[in-house]
Amino acid sequence: MKQLLSRLKPYSIFIFFVFMLLLTFPQNLSKSSESSRNAIITTVGIDKKEENYELTLISFTPTAGKEFVEVYDLISSEGDSISSALKKAELNLGRVIEFYHTENLVIGKEAQDDIVEILDYFVKDKTLAFSSVIVGTENSAKEFLTKLHKQNDNPSAIINELMLHNSKSIYYRKPTIEDFFSGYYSPLKTSYIADLGVNAEEEDEQSESQSGESSKSSRKIIKNTGEVRMFKDGKMVYKLSPDEVNGLNWFQDSITNRYIKVEKDGKIKMYHMDNKAVDKKVEIKDNQPIFKLNLKIHIDKQEIQEFGRKHVEVKELTNKEQDLIKESIRNEIKQSIDKIIEFKGGNQVYEKFYREERIKFKKFLNSLENIDDFLSKVIFEIKIDLLDD
């Protein structure tokens, strides 16, 4: 025996390898395939009906075949908690629900007040990726996802495409779970999520012409509202309108392309901004916080008079026109800030002061009764330079 063992010793690694194969191979060969045991969820919808939660899940089923066909199923279940609704969905499906490939989370209107608990559950218990995008909707998440699913398209891809576009033109970055928690755990406890709606008219048109070309209009089923839902301490407090979102975007370097609307004597003029540079500085003088915003806006001299009808190229902006544009921008910023003050937000401004003037800012905060009111005490000095070609 001893002789045998000493002969085998040089091959110990090989023997161990064979042993591991013997240990794991039969066990794994006897198992059914992963796809028949687990349901891969790409999009999750959550609604609240009185005291019950309703889960709507879109699952992806990989199918073997010559052509690559993506099959998406819609599953819905209800329970007095998310976990019980999930359990029911698993029972109905006959598969274990996995969230490793979930990219989007759609939260219906009623469930939005429980958003922290919902996200907490999915992130901690179900290891949902922090990079998943959260979308809020005025409708129910079930209705939203059902209509999306009817298009026989990949729903998460549709949402992703929209979010990618919006992250460059509306939100300055994708509204992910990480972003939400980052705001929620900040001193002001303010966070934002994206808003999408369902376009009922387009859906009707779609159903009428279902026999024909469906792909072109399939994207229109979702209404890109351009709105943003604002949460304070985990509760939805306000829905920022597209104009208010635009007003806040003057603070963002990344959003550089947009139209500026100027109204005078009942006439609407649109100027196209094709670039901008943002310089933000903060200082505290005599316990008074001052936020200096210096905007260098590049107008590409395109003026559209009476929008949609006339298209006129202008060589140079007159002083009067420049003043009107500046005034319009200032008004937009003011209206947006007023709303943020009203609902006690302002994370980015708070952070900027905290980073750059920490000692003075802490002193200033100590002089306040409630730090949530800090934004109302800040003076915004806005300097705008309009640049020509």
């Binding site: 110990s12 690694i13 161990f16 591991m20 240990l23 794991t24 996995e98 490793y100 990219e103 992130v123 290891t127 990726a129 922090f130 990079s131 998943s132 995008v133 992703n160 979010m163 990618l164 994708k174 992910t176 990480e178 928690f181 980052s182 755990y185 900040s186 952070e351 905290y354 980073r355 920490r358």
Partner: protein
């Protein structure tokens, strides 16, 4: 003939252990105490580690071929040396259990979504047994082989994480009390330089050794600090929610997430690291037993380590919470004694020589 490893292998071994338990859960756990100052805790503890390393250099220069156990026996008597080695034995069992549990959770989240404890434990013990039985030279060559893939993997993770970078972290944001409590409570995860003391008789030490070891150690410390810096800068308020620093820093971006399993780079790096770390800890544990009970053969020592590990795991430390709680309670005192007090005691052995020379 005594089995020895080259200076380069020694430097690599010291570097690989610097990663141990630091690039997964630690930044997140420390954030609760020190916020952005976690980076300063790392800097402070690394500075202490370098100090310990210098004690080792001086000791090795003076007692070239002596083992640490012999040195302790000669200077402090054999019973005291045995007591110190017994406490080291407990310390390294706790260290290996922390490592096993933290990486176990990581691999479960990333690869084995279903609870595959048996596979993980069999693999761990097999790696340990094979490398420990293979001898110290084999271990030296193994860590040497994996070093560059580890450094490459960690560097790629740092590089990708720059895409997620937003704003640098805010420093000096915690109180001195919470800062030092944080450092104190997680002392067990630092102090890795001490391991070289236990291997001092098995290391080839030439003139360039000091420079070489320091160079490797500083490079590794730089990489660890960069991972921690990126982690804290990316997550800031939510750092405490993320428990796998090296993976999380590359997975945040939705665009990167859509590429697919990009975290495979981080997973592979951690896999190589775990393999090396468990092998080193395993070898050291068997070596400690061999020193305490010199008549027992190496294979029996390995068997004892495996049995004790299994018993400890099955009966006491079967959940990560128990292990981490132990590391953050009584484990702290054990860690401070072994990592810092024992090297300081050893530094007194240096004074002795001068006196001897004078006499």
């Amino acid at each position: 003939m005594k089995e020895t490893i080259t200076t380069r292998q020694t430097a690599i071994m010291a570097s690989i252990l610097l990663f141990a338990n630091k690039i997964l859960t630690l930044p997140s756990l420390l954030y609760e105490y020190a916020k952005g100052d976690v980076l300063l805790i790392f800097l402070m503890m690394f500075a202490i580690d370098i100090g310990v390393l210098f004690i080792f250099f001086a000791l090795k220069k003076k007692y070239k071929d002596k083992s640490f156990f012999t040195l302790l026996s000669e200077k402090l008597t054999r019973p005291i040396a045995i007591i110190i080695y017994l406490s080291l034995l407990v310390y390294f069992f706790l260290e290996i259990l922390v490592n096993y549990n933290v990486t176990g959770i990581y691999f479960k989240t990333q690869i084995y979504h279903n609870d595959e404890k048996i596979i993980f434990i069999v693999l761990t013990l097999a790696i340990f047994a094979v490398t420990a039985a293979g001898g110290f030279r084999g271990l030296g060559r193994t860590v040497e082989f994996f070093y560059y893939p580890i450094i490459l993997g960690a560097s790629i993770c740092i590089l990708i994480s720059f895409f997620n970078f937003r704003e640098p972290l805010v420093l000096f944001d915690s109180t001195a009390k919470s800062f030092f409590i944080g450092a104190f409570k997680h002392a067990l995860t630092f102090g890795d330089s001490f391991i070289l003391f236990l291997l001092m008789d098995k290391i080839q030490y030439d003139e360039k050794a000091k420079k070489k070891i320091l160079c490797y150690v500083l490079i590794t410390m730089g990489i660890v600090l960069l991972i921690v810096f990126m982690f804290l800068s990316i997550f800031q308020n939510t750092a405490f929610l993320h428990s796998s620093a090296i993976s999380d820093i590359i997975l945040l971006s939705p665009e990167i997430f859509s590429i697919g399993r990009l975290d495979i780079i981080a997973v592979t790096t951690v896999m190589f690291l775990t393999l090396c770390q468990i092998s080193i800890y395993g070898y050291i544990l068997s070596d400690l037993i061999k020193n305490i009970f010199p008549r027992i053969s190496r294979n029996v020592c390995i068997f004892i380590v495996i049995v004790v590990f299994l018993l400890l795991y099955a009966l006491v430390f079967n959940t990560a919470d128990v292990v981490i709680d132990s590391a953050r309670s009584w484990g702290i005192y054990l860690a401070i004694f072994t990592q810092y007090i024992v090297p300081v005691i050893s530094s007194f052995f240096l004074i002795g020589k001068k006196k001897e020379a004078q006499t």
